[in-house]
């Protein structure tokens, strides 16, 4: 199984007057063709930065290093003109808040056909037909009429569907979804997830789904990457997150989910605060300060190493004693 996307040692640093923010600190990731992976983390973990870094749409105050291999090509090494040919065509992206990420003064239809027009893949008339067809596929009723509506005339869920249509209109190989359901009601969220899964299956498209919600991640993706402090701390199959989790951070996250089947007692939480944006990273393990299994060796930063098949952990513990 070849990897559609392989990221090696990705570093992203933001520097504006005075402050330096290390958003990604040596991240590794691989996405096989046709698979779906989820990137899970809290705010400040670097997950959104990762999504934007792959697309190379980070602000100019950032500097990126490492390798992002897409279909064998290092995206970071491409000249901007060529990168532009890939954006919106081979790799598409959808965002968290569709109301903010769509132009309020242009019709939804106009914005949906733009990827085709930017890449000269269709005439406006052909693009319009394809767009209406897609609107229908994503479950928007009366697509012909809706094509001519403005974003403010859509509900949140509908608008996110429209955004998905916009991302898929060029039949990309990879879809990056940056927290697309975070701003939606839970019921709408479920619909969108169902839609995404169906579309993925039909097209054999690969998916990177960024979220802070473990449950959503487990539903939508085959493999989960847990991020903390700008690094991947665990990479595990979604079916195994409860049973075979290894990293104490993931363990803490799962234990924090209140159970309804037994008396929960005092609610569990991970002590301490997540690393704030702009704070200096500790030299050793990024999670050590909050970890209950902390040991002297944690002063050295552990590398992301395989524990078993499709399961990598960046922790000293499992290597010594097995899963926590």
């Amino acid at each position: 199984m070849t990897d559609l996307l392989k990221i090696e040692d990705l570093h992203v640093v933001f520097s504006s007057t005075g402050t330096v923010v290390r958003a990604l600190n040596g991240l590794d990731l691989s996405l096989p063709v046709g698979h779906a992976i989820a990137i899970v983390g809290e705010s400040g973990s670097g997950k959104s930065t990762l999504a934007s870094a792959i697309m190379r749409i980070l602000p100019s105050t950032s500097s990126t290093s490492g390798r992002v291999l897409f279909d064998g090509q290092d995206l970071l090494g491409l000249p901007s003109k060529e990168m532009r040919l890939i954006r919106g065509r081979s790799i598409s992206m959808i965002f968290q808040n569709p109301t903010m990420y769509l132009n309020p003064t242009k019709t939804v239809g106009q914005q949906i056909i733009e990827p085709l027009l930017y890449h000269h893949l269709a005439t406006p008339a052909q693009a319009r037909k394809k767009a209406i067809d897609l609107l229908d596929q994503v479950g928007i009723p009366d697509p012909d009429h809706r094509f001519r509506n403005y974003p403010f005339e859509f509900s949140g869920g509908m608008l996110q569907r429209a955004m998905i249509a916009m991302a898929l209109i060029t039949d990309p190989k990879l879809l990056i979804a940056d927290e697309p359901t975070t701003a939606l009601d839970v019921t709408v969220q479920a619909e969108i997830l169902v839609l995404l899964k169906a579309l993925r299956k039909d097209r054999g498209m690969s998916l990177i789904f960024v979220t802070h919600d473990l449950a959503v991640a487990a539903q939508i993706a085959d493999e989960i990457y847990v991020m903390y402090g700008g690094l991947v701390v665990e990479h595990i199959n979604s079916s195994k997150i409860v049973t075979e989790r290894a990293h104490p951070y993931l363990g803490g996250l799962i234990r924090s989910i209140p159970r309804v089947d037994v008396d929960p007692g005092p609610l569990y939480f991970i002590p301490g605060q997540p690393i704030r944006v702009g704070e200096e990273l500790p030299p050793g393990c990024v999670f050590a300060a909050r970890c209950q299994y902390r040991q002297p060796i944690c002063k050295e930063r552990p590398a992301l190493l395989p524990v078993s098949q499709s399961h990598d952990v960046a922790c000293w513990l499992p290597l010594k004693e097995g899963s926590a």
Binding site: M55, I57, R84, L85, I86, R87, G88, R89, S92, M93, F95, N97, M100, Y101, L102, N103, P104, T105, K106, T107, Q111, E114, P115, Y118, H119, Y150, F152, E153, M166
Partner: protein
């Protein structure tokens, strides 16, 4: 959209009547009828001819001008006359109906104002875009600094500087009269530059805000180029707030034409008004005030209309967000 327009037009009508009423009452507050006053001031040439104006003539004139009716009747006759362009004669030029005076001079004043609006809008938009595209570079800071300098400098001061530079030192542009296209250059620029100062800054901020909006990220993510971003998306969104800022400047612009016409010796409506004010020619003062008011209200209505057309939220629902 229609709802929106209807509300604006209704306001226009109310405002016009309010202004005309107040103006009328102010003019009426001067003691004595205008006939006696102007006889005393010797402004009415026909009155000057007949120092002992006969009682009969006086009565018929009084009747003609409804001077014995209560003030609101006089007001009504005045306004309906104005609106149907039967404005009577001025004092200064009793043989020339006010209407033809205005017909002669209004096109000149209006073309000055129109050109000034056009020139200032284009310049402000261009300058704003350039500064925004080069945000935080020396281009941005220097153009915005120069723009800032001009914000409280009135058009007549700008006119003086332009006259000095282009009329006297470089001697390449005329500074008096209106006898050809080149005569328009300095007056229009004097009117336009102060507006460019204040509005270009606004345009720059508006473009920057648009460029930093989230939907621009989406355009890049779809494979759009800088050209697509600027002209396909940011422009329209920046123009909307820009229009709201230009609108209120139009009234000031019309007032500026009065001063500019005086400085450059241009025979426009402004000079008519100033003359009337100096000569206490009350009917002419009132007529030109009302006309200016009407023009300003119509200009603002036009801007509102433009805004309504450009903003889809108003187009579709009649209400702005």
């Amino acid at each position: 959209m229609l709802k929106y327009l209807a509300r604006r037009i209704f306001f226009m009508i109310v405002a016009f009547f309010a202004v005309s009423l107040v103006t009328f009452l102010l003019m009426k507050s001067v003691p004595g009828t205008f006939l006696t006053i102007n006889m005393a001031m010797n402004n009415m040439s026909s009155a000057a001819d007949t120092l002992g104006i006969s009682d009969q003539l006086m009565t018929s004139l009084t009747q003609h001008f409804h001077l014995n009716s209560p003030w609101y009747v006089q007001y009504w006759f005045y306004v309906s006359g104005f609106l149907t362009s039967h404005m009577g004669n001025s004092f200064e030029f009793p043989d020339i109906p006010t209407l033809s005076l205005i017909e002669r001079t209004f096109p000149i004043s209006f073309s000055l104002a129109f050109l000034a609006v056009a020139v200032s809008s284009i310049l402000a938009v261009l300058l704003g875009i350039i500064a925004a595209m080069r945000e935080n570079t020396w281009v941005d800071s220097s153009t915005m600094f120069v723009a800032m300098l001009g914000t409280t400098i009135p058009s007549y001061l700008v006119a003086v500087f332009l006259m000095l530079i282009f009329g006297v030192w470089l001697h390449i542009l005329p500074i008096l009269g209106i006898n050809g296209p080149q005569y328009y250059v300095l007056p229009v620029m004097s009117l336009a530059l102060p507006i460019v100062s204040s509005t270009s800054r606004y345009m720059r901020n508006s473009v920057i805000e648009s460029l930093h909006s989230e939907y621009i990220v989406t355009v890049y993510a779809k494979g759009g180029s800088a050209k697509h971003v600027l002209f396909g998306h940011a422009m329209k969104n920046s123009l909307l707030p820009f229009i709201t800022v230009v609108g209120p400047q139009l009234a000031g612009l019309m007032m500026g034409t009065v001063l500019i016409e005086s400085l450059f010796g241009i025979p426009g409506m402004g000079s008519i008004f100033v003359n009337a004010a100096q000569q206490r020619d009350y009917p002419l003062i009132m007529d030109s005030t009302l006309l200016y008011c009407l023009v300003i209200l119509l200009m603002n209505l036009f801007v509102d209309l433009l805004y309504g057309v450009l903003d889809p939220r108003i187009r579709r629902t009649g209400y702005s967000s």
